[in-house]
């Protein structure tokens, strides 16, 4: 068969597509971990939290979080008997060194650990102008450091105040739900180091995960449900005064 110009023109798009695959290379291999089989979240049982700050220290060690910045932190709430509308909240150094004794032991006093809520409809990923932050196929909100411009849109967009700009790299940073650990079959650093089991990593796609039984049998709430972010960090025993 003689190769005519017509044949060549017909072959060109096919060759172009093939070349694109050659350039793309082989995708990163993640042995024994299938992203489509997981949908990560976390369960925080406030009735167990003792405010020891182990999670905060573990997170800083595991993820090289700079001093004075936090991917997770613990707040202490004091709700006075006489002014339930205005709770007093403190978190000295993110509770890295625990808490001093409560100033006023009356009323309600309790701890609330906070971290990225890994929202299924996250406002922070929607505002990123360059596609540097995104929801992974397994439900974790992540940041591509090499792509982030440091424009701070996402820091402002997060209703939970979970993002900050790393002063060394000038890029946005936040909890990754220890993506480097959970993809290797480990739990997060904060869950691993919580002495009371107040924090538990949850895989919502795993039918055998104890989270399902817990959600069915406990009064569980998320932070700021009215923001409709579909947060995946579930709090047991969450007081109405928590912001």
């Amino acid at each position: 068969m003689k190769l005519t110009r017509r044949h060549l023109l017909l072959l060109l798009p096919a060759a172009g597509t093939a070349w694109k695959f050659v350039l793309a290379g082989t995708p990163e291999a993640a042995p024994n971990y299938n992203r489509s089989e997981h949908w990560w979240g976390m369960l925080i049982d406030l009735t167990k939290c003792i405010g020891c700050g182990n999670c905060v220290r573990a997170c800083q060690t595991e993820n090289d979080v700079p001093d004075g910045y936090f991917r997770t932190w613990v707040e202490r709430y004091h709700v006075s008997d006489y002014d339930i509308e205005n709770p007093q909240v403190d978190s000295p150094d993110g509770s890295k060194h625990g808490f001093p004794p409560a100033k006023d032991p009356s009323g309600k006093n309790f701890f609330v650990p906070k971290l990225c809520n890994h929202c299924a409809d996250s406002p922070c990923t929607q505002v990123c102008p360059v596609g540097a932050t995104f929801i992974s196929p397994d439900g974790v909100v992540l940041i591509d450091k090499t792509y982030c411009l440091g424009c701070r849109y996402c820091v402002q967009a997060c209703p939970y105040g979970c993002r900050f700009i790393n002063p060394k790299t000038n890029t946005a940073e936040k909890c990754t739900l220890c993506y480097h650990r959970i993809t290797k079959g480990l739990t997060t650093a904060c869950c691993e180091n919580c002495p009371t089991g107040a924090r538990q990593l949850a895989d919502l796609k795993n039918p055998n995960d104890p989270i399902h039984e817990f959600l069915k049998t406990h009064p569980v709430q998320v932070l700021k449900p009215y923001m409709a972010t579909h947060s995946k960090v579930f709090y047991n025993g969450l007081d109405g005064s928590v912001r």
Binding site: L23, A24, G25, P27, E28, A29, A30, Y33, R35, T47, K48, C49, I50, G51, C52, G53, N54, A58, T61, E62, R76, Y77, H78, G98, F99, P101, A102, D104, P105, N109, F110, F111, G131, A132, T133, F134, I135, S136, P137, L142, D144, T146, Y147, T176, Y179, H180, R181, T183, K184, L186, T187, A189, E192, N193, C194, P195, T196, G197
Partner: protein, 180 residues
């Protein structure tokens, strides 16, 4: 060369022929428009070629982001080995812990990040812990702690004695024969 005349107009346009022809006369010397079109086409082509080189290959693999970022974030080294790793070797400690109150407190919660020790036990030996610091981190009384959690006021609990005089950290309940 690109001028129009009445004969080439579609049938429906014939009614407005007069006015249309006047408008068409304005395009009589329309070569420059086609040159402009050429410039635009070249610009778009240049954009597409540059885009092909500048946009990372894995961008858009899973969504509007660089697909390889997932692998890069997952490749970060682990600092906390996890209690399953610890328990692989330290079965004696596991036996001590299993009936005590600290059965569910993971090793590294007190002993610190020891993935390096797990990789090569000789390279890093865990430091000796100071119970005076460690125990009160959790057990110092605080009104915000759950009432069911065992709490003490360290200043008047033991008269300055170190915690391990009475409590073994791995199984802290005081038994009849003193510390086990």
């Amino acid at each position: 060369m690109f001028g129009f005349n009445g004969r080439q107009l579609p049938a429906g346009w014939q009614m407005k022929k007069g006015r249309l022809l006047t408008a068409m006369n304005a395009f009589k010397d329309s070569e420059h428009l086609f040159r402009l079109l050429g410039v635009f086409a070249a610009g778009i082509l240049l954009f597409l070629v540059l885009r092909e080189f500048l946009v990372p290959r894995s961008f858009g693999e899973y969504g509007h982001y660089r697909g390889n970022a997932l692998g890069e974030i997952a490749a970060r080294p682990v600092n906390y080995a996890g209690h399953d790793t610890c328990e692989g070797c330290h079965t004696d400690v596991l036996d001590k812990k299993k009936d005590g109150k600290h059965a569910h407190v993971n090793c590294e919660a007190c002993h610190g990040a020891l993935a390096k020790h797990a990789d090569d036990p000789a390279a890093l030996t865990p430091p000796k812990l100071d119970t005076a610091v460690l125990c009160v981190r959790c057990h110092e009384a605080n009104a915000a702690k759950p009432k069911s959690f065992p709490q003490i006021v360290s200043a008047d609990h033991a008269g300055g004695l170190p915690c391990e005089t009475c409590h073994q950290p791995h199984s802290p309940a005081i038994t009849a024969g003193g510390a086990k």
